[in-house]
Amino acid sequence: MIVTNIEILPDKRIVQHLGLVQGSSVRAKHVGRDIMAGLKNIFGGELKGYTELLQESRAEAMERMIEQAEAVGANAVLNVRFSTSSVAAGAAELFAYGTAVVLE
């Protein structure tokens, strides 16, 4: 499975477009992390707990997108985009979408 955010792969020809595939994941960290992040806000710096949260979310969103692509018989997802939103306080939503294609 090739996942890229460019639209045309120089060495591959697209045989078929299979439409939009998307993956999303909403995750939250336990309240201890929230409290630590709140304290960290005083001193500044990286909020490791939240970085981790976003990474986990992103990985899961990608996984789900790829799962959709596989389900429709694609072997690549092109032009992938990510977007983040906060549906609830302390929870992060990561969303990945792209075009599923069959490459030669």
Partner: protein
Amino acid sequence: MIDLIILVTLLALGYGFGSYAESRHYKSIIARENTLRHIPAVTSRFPPMNEGSRDAALVSGSVVVSVDYFKRFIATLRNLVGGRVTSYESLVDRARREAILRMKAEAEKLHADIVFNVKLETSSIHKGRGNSIGSVEVLAYGTALKTDQ
């Protein structure tokens, strides 16, 4: 004590109506997805130049969906212990598919055959109100084209 009764009532109402509304929404989404299946939506920016694409037009669709009390309650608890907030997953899923469908419906009205360069934006419009309402707004937009295929 009275608080508890109110809470249980709200939870029961939320669960009953929420799951009914959700399953109905899913049914309608799946039905409309099937009728609009002839219009693919893709994220690529470049339509094929040799196939006589014409009549480019911006199409968009947006929707605001809110969760029910029951799901919000679960999400709040989940927020304390961490992990996957499953009760919001179906919310955003429904919102995205609905927004894409509305975009496609607009494309269909223009007799377009395909939507290019689709982009999706998610935002939560309730932000100013202390996160008291769990709702999402999804905007889907792209360029509808006619092709001579």
